[in-house]
Symmetry: C2
Subunit: 229 residues, 2 copies
DNA sequence: TCATTTATGTGTATAATTTACACAAAAATA
DNA sequence: TATTTTTGTGTAAATTATACACATAAATGA
């Protein structure tokens, strides 16, 4: 197989986190190269002996120290001049994590790494802004038909967290009663005996997402789907 | 930028066609390599000076002579041993075309090229079966929320063609009256003055999909969505 | 030519789902 | 102890989805 090709393969991750009722993205500041100092998505070149997913997991770990709860391939970017140094195609992924579970540490390959609010993303290297846009689009669409939002929350969470998460990601108000009714009707949330009392207001019951139950129901043809105008 | 990497980048297309009330896929028979004689998806290596989409378009043209009505990136396959000759990652696409518009001709790089019924796909090279499965899954999901099914039909088509298309792809019966009612309610189908009379039975009015109208409505927030249990 | 076959075209009643909407309860705070 | 803050809950109306059957227009065959 004689192929003349001078293309490199990289992976990049759009890592979403959620805290303080805000959607955040994990970025790194590059250490090397002409883009030094510019912020960018965590990612890097795929090694010959690892598949794409392994490559993302490794890069995430090396550059930021996090391990994703949820990881899904997003899109492959392959414009000729997306990286002016060489022809590089980027296989992108979206990842969901709960920021509370990690202290971000800029590791081997990054000068710095931290969470940015979605509306405070700095100028990014390459086409990484475009990748984020695509990732956000996917996230927005997907929380409506797959129960992946829970991956951004604590294992036990008050209903208000879930409401806020959806409202934040979708960028719109959702009726609290209808939302709760709908989610509970799916029978995939488990009420715990614990309550959360922080600050003022009535203490909130804590719920858990029942992964096992969900898988069972999915098997039987159940389809998670919410839609709020 | 010093990167030691020996990975090649290919594109592959799952080309869907629809005729005789059947969903078909366009395959080529390889001319070269160890997989000679095996059927495979049309596709090939990306050139240094073309982006991914251009590469698919070119390969489709070279190998089968078709030009897709609709082309969308599907998924990138990157397992280490998906091609035993070398490390190759495949950026896959789905394409929709109307088979009536082309006579398939095995061209430069293929020994043969032809349409296969979906239930008569032979053993395929590499992980191409997996790619088809993924493509089919995408198609099944997507015809429910984007009006892409029309790309598989003639410009002017009787309603029964559309019904059959959906029933075939989704693999289930759909109530004719409810289906028609729903589609017409969107106001994106244009009734022509022509009728189609072939064989016995009452002649059918011919409809056109109004791309322009759809784009307008989409702009205003309209969302194509059908769902039949 | 007329009875039969084949495919298209159409409406309505019922069930299910979605939407809109407001006040009581439990705690913290002033 | 009155006020503020947040959680928790039900119902009526509107919309949407579902189930279902017969008339019409042509071709076909007796």
């Amino acid at each position: 197989m004689k192929v003349i090709q001078n293309i490199k393969v990289a992976v990049d991750a759009v890592v979403f986190g959620y805290s303080d009722n805000k959607l955040k993205i994990l970025l790194i500041q590059q250490k090397f190269g002409t883009k030094s100092n510019k912020w960018a998505l965590p990612g890097g070149f795929v090694k010959d002996n690892e598949n794409l997913e392994k490559a993302v997991v490794r890069e995430l770990s090396e550059e930021t120290g996090v391990k994703a709860n949820y990881l899904e391939q997003l899109y492959t970017f392959g414009e000729i001049n997306r990286d002016e140094r060489a022809r590089v195609i980027a296989v992108s992924y979206i990842a969901l994590i709960n920021p509370k579970n990690y202290t971000i540490k800029a590791d081997t390959d990054a000068k710095d790494a931290k969470w940015f609010n979605l509306n405070e993303i700095p100028n990014l290297a390459f086409d990484h802004k475009e990748i984020i846009d695509k990732g956000l689009e996917r996230l927005k669409a997907k929380i409506n038909y797959k129960p992946i939002g829970f991956e951004l929350l604590n294992t036990k969470f008050p209903f208000s967290d879930l409401e806020n998460l959806y409202q934040t990601i979708l960028g719109k108000k959702i009726d609290r009663r209808n939302f709760r009714k709908k989610l509970l009707s799916f029978d995939i949330l488990q009420e715990t005996k614990e309550v959360q009392k922080i600050g003022s207001g009535r203490p909130a019951k804590l719920f858990k997402f029942n992964h096992k139950k969900y898988k069972e129901l999915e098997q039987k043809g159940f389809h998670f789907e919410i839609k709020f105008v």
